[in-house]
Symmetry: D2
């Protein structure tokens, strides 16, 4: 496949960021990596913790409001424009809406060739990794581990509970040869 866009979906603490860095290292061409966390960081601070923006509940439940979704749509459009302008882009996202989230990307993608990647990791494993990293609301990882994959279809899936980031990256890279 000669994709210009790789979209990697997985729950919090499933190890996507590490896999993306390894993927950038093993791929011959330079790929830009953006994450939905970068988008969140780009929002005004006041939207963090507001119903219109992004709220994280006491047990790590994430909910997003209309202003968040509107800006996110503009962000997705911009990412696809980078691909059309000759860039190669890796996106690291969390499909809180499962198949619905994938469809929102599809609406923006049009005919840009895309490799869809799922990063799975057992709920009990991500719960431990969340504790180890120490910078996420406790409970978020376990909550997201399964739901983000509901109704989503992939070109390739990796399991970060049973493979190192670098090995997941090599598996993904083979689909781009």
């Amino acid at each position: 496949m000669t994709a210009r866009l790789i979209i990697i979906n997985g729950g919090s603490s499933s190890g996507k960021t590490g896999i993306v860095r390894c993927l950038q290292a093993v791929l011959a061409e330079p790929w830009l990596a953006f994450s939905v966390d970068d988008f969140v960081d780009a929002m005004p601070a006041a939207m963090d913790g507001s119903a219109a923006g992004l709220e994280i509940g006491p047990d790590g439940e994430v909910s997003v409001g209309p202003a968040f979704m509107e800006l996110e749509a503009a962000w997705r459009t911009g990412i696809i424009a980078m691909c059309r302008a000759g860039g190669r882009v890796i996106i690291d996202d969390v499909f809180l809406g499962g198949g619905g989230s994938q469809q929102r990307w599809r609406d923006a993608i049009g005919d840009v060739e895309t490799l869809w990647v799922g990063v799975r990791c057992a709920p009990e494993v991500v719960a431990g990794r969340e504790l180890a990293r120490g910078d996420r609301a406790v409970g978020m990882a376990e909550k997201q581990a399964l739901i983000v994959h509901e109704g989503v279809t992939y070109d390739v899936e990796v399991d970060s509970a049973h493979a190192e980031s670098i090995d997941c990256a090599r598996t993904i890279a083979r689909y781009l040869a």
Copy 2:
């Protein structure tokens, strides 16, 4: 002016990031903030320190290569697409090429209404602030303080050596009313 894009140019340690955060806080609408540093973070790690990518000399001199410029052009195109898709965007950039850097943005911008902002700060002041923040190559700030403004035209200029970030932000915000 009813701009959808604010481009803020200034040298390293001139306080752009703080001004941008304040600007997001004082503006009524939600604006997304992206920085050229975000773009650099999105590049593969291997491009950091390579002639094709980005090199920082021992005295803080920054030079960028062809692969960097090619990817950066795609990034700029994507940012403008976000504006066209309804997003409001603040860009925090360092015009290493002065007026030439501004022209590269203009080529991408087309008819998107843009507010051009210059953040000035005296070389001897940024040198001290660079020391205080402790995470930038020593010498970079002083080197960039004047050259980034050469041949650049602005709608509004602020001087962060003589005004707090919040006051600079309020000055800029008045141009958008």
Copy 3:
């Protein structure tokens, strides 16, 4: 004065960290810099947000419990032991209890020669700087600006609203000559 310990007290967002980095740069001898934030980072994550540990209220009000104070006393004892063992140490602290906080340090210090430094910054200025840095609970800076200095005595005071970090550092350094 031939102090082996410099204790710098000031409210949140008063610029202590930047002043400390500049102080390390201008002093001839190597000084180790520790902050009460380092102590907080060393605590178990579970103590953050607990009544026994550290709580930050919705308006940035900080309160600490008995487990926090007990561990902090051990931490202070350790810092003083570093000085007695030949180290030179700069402490960056927030005297939430004003003169009472200073007395707790004095009880640990014994005869170790100490330079007491106050960093003042007007409440309205720190409120703006808090917004600019974007990583502190809004309201904390203004709340602490005056109360941390109540009942505290200093060898030297600087005002970071009217002087750059590097200039504050030079002022402090003169007292050690």
Copy 4:
């Protein structure tokens, strides 16, 4: 064992930090966690990259000079004083000198009861994890993986290539019951 001090030794990218966070979470008492990286951050910036301080070679080889070792000795003395003053402390260190590094701790420890923990991880695994985290000099992890354990004796050893951080933490915690 009723230790007041846990010293965890392992090479770069062996996962010590994550294990320490999990250990703080599973232990009933509050333990303070400090790392040799905290000590390095406390040094003046000018010592980073100097022969007297700390140098990191192009292949990730770390060497430390006399000023570094002198300050580090004062730091160790301070840590032990925290334990004697009633604190419980976990240290995360990299024994670049193997058994010699352990002896330097022993000289400071005296009769403070200590649990010695080794974190092993195969060189090829840490090399991949170093790539995944993206913030360490490439080559450092592989170089340190074996040498840091030479001539060191432990109360308990864990292998982070084959066990999650939380499981390593639980193994360690059993030795403190």
